[in-house]
């Protein structure tokens, strides 16, 4: 009968054990930390890949497909890594080594370690349905938690956007809106409620977000976006703008500011049964002025307050905007850049038209002629 100690000794005599200097001399080596998740979370070697011992056999070929690649395995004290090196040898790996003294000696000798960023158990539970998706995972969720998204408008489009961005764990949500919640809003602006009637929309939306997800830091701007305050508001640092404004002057202002601040804008607009969605990525695609060089005359630009809107339409369009925002924040998928998505709720029909950057665009073109804020109200009233 072999004891553990005897088995360990025999295994150590059969595998290659290298010290830190020898390990670092292995050109192009892949370092694998085979410890348990809780040990990894307390710090690991820089550049190491975490493959817990229990998953080593099943995962190693995915991590190191070429069996001649030098591999340095480490655990806490070079015992588990000795068995791991033996296993890799049996799997045909010809250049696997166990790090003598393991993580303990590495750290004691002043070797560099890094602390991994991981989600707390509470966050892992809250965002588990995101983490399960390979395209997002824990890394993608951390990106969402690090993201800062500015909403222009807390109305029809801003309502679903604020709720779904909050639910997704966007770390900071800014909301710009000067309005007060009134009864006519409740037909579609689902972030607000009877309890918040008569209160500022930014406060009402903040309340709804905080009731849904305390992870989100909500920054409110109870003001209308103007040429006078746009620099201050954008100066607070935003990765992304979700534009749910309700008028042309604000749309053109948001556009110009986003180009100058290099912030992508997820654009959405609605009227009656129809909606438009696109993403303006400064200098990588068209901007709002490339798409619509000038606004229509006032009689062809009724607002939802004048012409009406199907209540669920902003829910659909605002959710499509949020989908784009989450993709951009997580760095996944194909953003709606250079494509204008049109939705017709009566026909239940989506169509798409191609939009291109205009090299002669006065703001994002090759030779811009508008380089500072203009009088947007006057521009849209011409």
């Amino acid at each position: 009968m072999t004891t553990y100690r005897e088995l360990l000794q025999r295994t150590k005599s059969e595998i290659s054990e290298v010290d830190a200097r020898g390990a670092e001399a292995l050109d192009g080596a892949i370092w694998i930390d085979i410890r348990e998740a809780d040990e990894w979370q307390e710090g690991h070697l820089p550049g190491a890949i975490h493959v817990p011992r229990g998953f080593l056999e099943s995962r190693i070929e995915g991590v190191v497909p070429d069996k001649a690649t030098p591999i340095v395995l480490y655990c806490a004290a070079a015992n588990r890594s000795a068995f791991a090196a033996k296993t890799l040898e049996e799997l045909g790996y010809t250049n696997a080594h166990s790090l003598a003294g393991g993580f303990t000696d590495w750290k004691r000798n002043g070797g560099e370690i890094v602390m991994p960023r991981t989600l707390s158990p509470e966050r892992r539970t809250r965002y588990s349905r995101h983490i399960l998706i390979p395209e997002i995972g824990e890394e993608g969720q951390l990106k969402l938690l690090d993201s800062r998204v500015l909403l222009i408008g807390a109305g029809g489009l801003g309502s679903p956007a604020s709720l779904y961005l909050a639910a997704a764990g966007i770390g900071r949500i800014g909301i710009v809106d000067a309005d007060i919640v009134d009864e006519t809003n409740l037909q579609r602006q689902v972030a607000h409620s009877l309890e918040t009637l008569g209160t500022p929309k930014v406060d009402s939306a903040k309340r709804a977000i905080e009731a849904l997800n305390p992870d989100v830091d909500v920054v409110t701007y109870r003001e209308r976006l103007t040429s006078e305050n746009v620099e201050r508001i954008l100066g607070d640092g935003w990765d992304l703008i979700v534009d749910g404004a309700d008028n042309f002057p604000t749309r053109y202002l948001v556009n110009d500011a986003s180009i100058w601040h290099d912030i992508p804008v997820v654009h959405g607009s609605i009227y009656r049964f129809e909606g438009q969605v696109t993403v303006f990525s400064p200098h990588n695609g068209p901007c709002y002025r490339c798409l619509f060089p000038e606004p229509p005359p006032a009689e062809l630009a009724p607002s939802c307050a004048e012409g009406g809107v199907l209540g669920v339409l902003p829910g659909i369009v605002g959710s499509l905007q949020t989908n784009e925002a989450i993709k951009l924040a997580a760095g996944i998928g194909e953003p709606l850049v250079g494509r204008l998505l049109l939705f017709d709720a009566l026909a239940t029909e989506f169509s798409e038209v191609r939009i291109e950057r205009n090299p002669d665009c006065p703001v994002c073109g090759d030779h811009p002629t508008i380089t500072e804020y203009i009088d947007y109200v006057e521009f849209c009233a011409r």
């Binding site: 222009i152 408008g153 109305g155 029809g156 489009l157 801003g158 809003n185 602006q189 534009d243 749910g244 404004a245 309700d246 008028n247 042309f248 604000t250 749309r251 959405g268 607009s269 609605i270 009227y271 009656r272 049964f273 129809e274 438009q276 798409l291 619509f292 060089p293 000038e294 606004p295 229509p296 005359p297 062809l300 630009a301 009724p302 607002s303 939802c304 307050a305 012409g307 809107v309 902003p314 049109l342 017709d344 009566l346 026909a347 169509s351 798409e352 038209v353 191609r354 939009i355 291109e356 205009n358």
Partner: protein, 90 residues
């Protein structure tokens, strides 16, 4: 016969319909035919032989400004979308 998609803000000019038919081998011909059939709509988007600058015109999903403008060819089965900007968000 080409299908012309009418935007919601111009449906009043088009008798409330979402789509109309018009004939023509180019955008110019389609606009002229549209103006003959539905003058209220046609003159809103096309006047003095020019497209109104606030209306985008797409032929099969392509902006005619990035093609040949009014000379952009239009096929029998093409869809022409007339699209002014909409600002609504509330």
């Amino acid at each position: 016969m080409t299908t012309v998609r009418v935007p919601p803000v111009l449906r009043g000019e088009a008798g409330g319909v979402r789509e109309l038919n018009a004939d023509g081998a180019t955008v110019r011909e389609v606009m002229e035919d549209l103006t003959r059939r539905v003058p209220a709509l046609g003159t809103r988007v096309y006047s003095d032989g020019e497209l109104q600058p606030f209306v985008n015109v797409y032929v099969d999903g392509e902006d005619v400004r990035t093609r040949d403008g009014l000379d952009t060819p239009v096929g029998d089965t093409s869809t022409v979308i007339l699209l002014p900007a909409m600002a609504g968000g509330r």
